[in-house]
């Protein structure tokens, strides 16, 4: 029997003070793989863990297993730049992402685990006057939907973010910004750990080092999965495998509208606090940089996709240079700061830039995929909605637009607005 988990509170801290270090228990307990489950979830990332948590908590499903090829949180949930926001243009997207942003606000309490949601604001900078109308349009669309957005001119930008010195002569002069004040950052590893802990406490079996190699079916119904630890029967199967969704499509014999690309991120050495928000800037024909400062002082930076399919999890030098050059263009005082870590994640890029949460191939096989570079920020909403789909068989309104069939019927959600390509540089 797994040991009872400790509820985290000030009182618990005090008790632990007297009980000694043995008071605390592991966040989740390793369990043995059983041979039959109601729901098998493939992939112990943010979306898989959150879906398991909601299946157990909201829908009362008892026998759930999460099968993970490597380790909990080894993939993109631990590789992103921790930014959360809901400033998407299309209604199907901004209502969904807004649902996620609202859930981030209460998630620490729901999970009894501090995910360190920091609504420090997300500032989308415009580097030419021509970008302002598009920003105004996006901002107006958001405000009509009841989501906060504020358009700043250069004077307002200067008042709000003096460290940016918006009037300084620079290669890409600043023209204004669209700000979402409730956007910000969330401690990414804590999201994986918090969901794993909460799901485990509800009886979900989290099985690490267990790769799914095939799906067994009979009369067009999936019956279970072949794994490196043997065959597991399952009433329903959910694949939440992020960058490896293309492989899942190949395994199921269903070609998917997905290419896998790399997105890299990097962290600088710790420096004194100077940036209390998330800055995002797209430099036309040059690249993109988004940066924030972590509580430890390091600058967390990222940019565009590397630009071609890859599973290597190594970023290219060219893209790293773009990101760093963009950061130094925004803040010349960063020129001497060293990058201390750099990594990449594999992104399942769909052909319209929006996700897929739907059945796939079989009536009892589901796909939670195609998150492109926006998966982390949606985890709480995706978990709740996907659990409803898996438990009831009906997609809630919030994710009706994310059906796989939209590519056949033409009801695309082309958020980036450049047609059926994952990258247009």
């Amino acid at each position: 029997m797994p040991l009872a988990r400790r509820h985290y509170s000030a009182l618990a801290l005090l008790r632990a003070r007297w009980a000694g270090s043995r008071y605390w228990r592991p966040l989740w307990t390793g369990r043995t793989l059983k041979d039959h489950y109601d729901v098998v979830i493939v992939g112990a990332g943010g979306h898989g863990l959150a879906t398991a948590y909601h299946l157990a908590r909201d829908h009362g499903i008892k026998r759930i297993a999460i099968l993970e090829k490597r380790l909990v949180g080894y993939g993109n949930v631990g590789r992103n730049t921790t930014i959360v926001r809901s400033n998407y243009l299309l209604p199907e997207n901004h209502y969904f992402y807004e649902d996620a942003l609202r859930r981030w606000g209460t998630l620490s309490r729901d999970l009894n685990y501090n995910v360190m949601y920091s609504p420090r604001g997300v500032v989308d900078l415009a580097v030419s006057e021509d970008e302002i109308p598009a920003m105004a349009r996006r901002g107006n669309a958001l405000r009509l939907a009841g989501i906060d957005a504020e358009l700043l001119d250069v004077a307002a930008l200067e008042r709000a973010y003096p460290q940016l010195a918006p009037r300084r002569v620079r290669r890409f002069p600043l023209a204004g910004a669209l700000v979402q004040a409730r956007g910000g950052t969330v401690r990414h590893d804590a999201v994986a750990w918090g969901y794993a802990r909460a799901a485990s406490a509800l009886g979900v079996d989290i099985i690490e080092d267990c790769e799914v190699t095939g799906v067994r079916s009979h009369a067009d119904v999936a019956e279970g999965v072949e794994t490196t630890r043997g065959y597991v029967r399952a009433e329903r199967i959910l694949f939440a495998t992020a960058g490896h969704t293309g492989m899942i499509g190949t395994m199921l014999g269903v070609p998917l509208p997905i290419e896998t690309h790399l997105l890299q991120a990097m962290v600088s050495e710790p420096i004194k606090p100077f940036l209390d928000t998330v800055m995002v800037s797209v430099f036309p024909g040059h690249g993109e940089t988004y940066l924030s400062q972590s509580d430890r002082g390091g600058l967390v930076m990222g940019g565009h996709l590397d630009g071609f399919p890859s599973y290597t999890r190594e970023g290219t030098w060219d893209r790293m240079q773009d990101v760093v050059a963009g950061a130094v263009d925004l803040f010349p005082q960063l020129a001497g700061v060293k990058i201390v870590r750099q990594w990449a994640g594999t992104n399942d890029m769909t052909m319209d830039g929006s996700p897929i949460i739907d059945r796939c191939r079989y009536d009892n096989v589901f796909l939670n995929a195609g998150w492109c570079y926006g998966g982390f920020k949606t985890i709480p909403a995706s978990g709740a909605a996907c659990a409803t789909l898996v438990a009831t068989g009906t997609a809630p309104d919030l994710i009706k637009g994310y059906a796989l069939s939209r590519f056949a019927t033409g009801h695309l959600l082309d958020e980036p607005g450049y047609g059926p390509f994952p990258v247009r540089l």
């Binding site: 490896h244 293309g246 492989m247 499509g249 190949t250 070609p255 998917l256 509208p257 997905i258 290419e259 896998t260 630009g307 071609f308 399919p309 890859s310 599973y311 290597t312 190594e314 290219t316 030098w317 060219d318 052909m351 590519f407 056949a408 059926p420 390509f421 990258v423 540089l425």
Partner: protein
């Protein structure tokens, strides 16, 4: 992967090349041709362009798990 080899220009920096798309899934219907992709972990068929060089269109076969280029040909060239 830091460079690619153009059949005209020889080995050049990766920054000179632009990836266009992976080859569509075999199938004549518009859905397959426009949206669906072949996803293989070790063999990717792709269109590239030497866009900041001779501007030739290229067809590549790469291993996306290692970055190794298996074949690089001019688009439309007869391959064995």
């Amino acid at each position: 992967m830091t460079s690619l080899s153009c059949p005209f220009c020889g080995v050049r920096e990766l920054a000179e090349f632009a990836f266009h798309k992976t080859l569509p899934n075999a199938g004549d219907d518009p859905l397959s041709a426009v949206y669906l992709r072949i996803n293989q972990v070790d063999d990717s068929h792709e269109y590239w362009q030497h866009v900041r060089g001779c501007r030739a269109w290229l067809k590549a076969r790469r291993n996306p798990s290692t970055g190794e280029v298996l074949e690089m040909n001019l688009l439309g060239a007869v391959t064995s």
